[in-house]
Amino acid sequence: MILAARSCTVLGEGGQLRLDAVSIEVGQGEIHAVIGPNGAGKSTLMGILSGMQKVDSGIVEFNSRPIRDLNVRELARARSVLGQDLAVSFGFTVAEVVAWGRAPWRGTDRMQEDDSVMESAMRATQVTSLRDRPINQLSGGERKRVHIARVIAQDCPLMFFDEPDSDLDLIGNKELDAMLHRLHQRGRTLVVSSHNLSWISGLATHVILMGEHAIVGAGSTKEILTSELLSNAYGQTISVQWTTDASGRDFAMCTSS
């Protein structure tokens, strides 16, 4: 078990409930997808699991150690986070932004790997040729790839992706899928939130389904992506049709009717 949340409750400003005593376990090498309607608490759950947000009660553990005991640097060596706000102030170049991923390792033995890790992260995301360009001059899809290169360069066993597909076109989404798949094959544990249920169905090993500030279903992808559970969570009828694509991967067509 690399990550666990035990009856975690989060209250917002003014004391309204944001998360209600949620518990979840994430095993080494799994891909967990966090799904659910808007306002169900996906972002808050991602926040507490990644140590970005504090819990008001309960505990989050990384490798059986309470996450609140890790300092900001130790946390950054344990997990990397691709957030939704990817704006960069000033004209930093692609290579400079990717190098920030190595910041948590400054002063450690792993600094020696800086160059090789950065180069392979840029190759994996196909941004090597953009390395000297200011990131603010790139297209949205290119910028996202640069930030993915940055979180790959951070070289953490656990990686969070908060709606990584939100502004990608069809090709961009396919590339993202391939990148996350490769990280999974290399033994990384991924937690991915998304609204795209069909994409998630082909990627995730496990699904955490959120509804009304609580987890309403957690388990293997096939257990959770069912018409019954999804319809309940989203409050409208959703049909789920499992098929196999050309490469032999199972995925589900999820459509609301």
């Binding site: 990644s50 970005m52 300092n71 900001v72 640097r73 946390l75 950054a76 060596r77 990397s80 986070v81 957030g83 706000d85 990817l86 704006a87 960069v88 102030s89 000033f90 004209g91 930093f92 170049t93 400079e96 920030w100 991923g101 910041a103 948590p104 400054r106 940055r150 951070q154």
Partner: protein, 320 residues
């Protein structure tokens, strides 16, 4: 040429220009060139211009980086006004000008001013770009008003008028002035250099920087503290000089990019060059009459600020 290559060329060029300017500044003036004048008047004044230039330009870099705001400048965000007010109040209670005591009072005043500006501008866990500038206007107006009142109530005005504080001048920079400012400038520069790599990551925003291992509150607080030291030390001796902290880092960024280590070193050099040049012009242009050095800076700086304002506004889609 790579950015690192450009940085070296620019660094060497600025150093050479600085040496030439120091020679000109020491040699020429309304009183000829005997050794007493050079040693007791022109040398401390030249060193003061260099120290204040280093301080204001570095403070600009620190404020821009820590607030993620390319428009931040010590004078525009109210740090300078707080320092001037602190210095005047320190003098009003009997501390001598150009002493560590008045410098300390200036540091306290500008810390309070900055704390007010940051506190007012906080919203949704961010520090808002425009609110910082608006709060800076209010703090500056308040500071100028209290300075005017205190000056008119005491006999301080004879030595340092309200105009001295608002436009800045090196006319009263002697060896005591240099000695009262260099320790704070030295501490500020060292602190800035130490913080530089973390300031780079703040460009990701507070959440992104935190996720990458930066303790955001600590870095921002220390950066603002360093900016306060660097600004207040100079303001206590020479008054408020606006726009230097805005123009110099911006120009350097255009050449070598925004990475903070290089930006800091080259901005410090550039600040020294520009301010020494401005003071030399202020002294010699209409000799023996002296123009306030702050006016020389503002004539160059205000148009640059308009350009920057326009750009920032375009990027954010207007601030209506």
């Amino acid at each position: 040429m790579t950015r690192a290559g450009k940085a070296w060329v620019l660094g060497i060029a600025l150093t050479l220009i600085l040496i030439v300017l120091v020679a000109i500044s020491l040699r020429f003036g309304s009183a000829g060139a005997d050794s007493v004048v050079i040693w007791n008047i022109r040398l401390p004044r030249t060193i003061a211009a260099i120290l204040v230039g280093i301080g204001l330009a570095s403070a600009g870099v620190l404020l821009q980086g820590s607030l993620r705001n390319p428009l931040a400048d010590p004078a525009l965000v109210g740090v300078s006004a707080g320092a001037a007010l602190g210095a005047v109040l320190g003098a009003a209670i009997g501390l001598p000008f150009n002493s560590i005591g008045v410098t300390t009072a200036a540091v306290v005043g500008s810390s309070i001013a900055m704390a007010v500006v940051v506190w007012v501008s906080r919203g949704n866990g961010r520090i808002e770009v425009v609110t910082v500038l608006l709060a800076g206007i209010a703090v500056s107006a308040f500071g100028a008003a209290v300075i005017a009142i205190v000056s008119s109530m005491s006999d301080l005005a004879g030595v340092r008028s309200v105009t001295f504080w608002t436009t800045g001048s090196f006319a009263l920079s002697n060896w005591a002035g240099v000695n009262s400012m260099w320790p704070a400038v030295a501490i500020g520069v060292v602190l800035a250099f130490y913080l530089a790599p973390s300031l780079d990551l703040l460009a990701l925003g507070d959440e992104g920087a935190y996720a990458s291992g930066v303790s955001v509150t600590r870095v921002r607080t220390l950066a603002i503290l360093a900016a306060v030291l660097l600004t207040a030390a100079g303001v206590a001796v020479v008054g408020i000089i606006a726009f230097l902290g805005l123009v110099v880092p911006h120009a350097i960024r255009l050449v070598v990019g925004p990475a903070h280590r290089q930006l800091l070193v080259l901005s410090a050099l550039g600040g020294a060059v520009v301010l020494l040049l401005a003071d030399t012009i202020a002294r010699l242009a209409l000799s023996p009459v002296e123009i306030p050095v702050g006016s020389v800076m503002a004539i160059v700086g205000a148009p640059v600020f308009f350009v920057l304002l326009g750009r920032a506004r375009n990027r954010q889609g207007g601030w209506a």
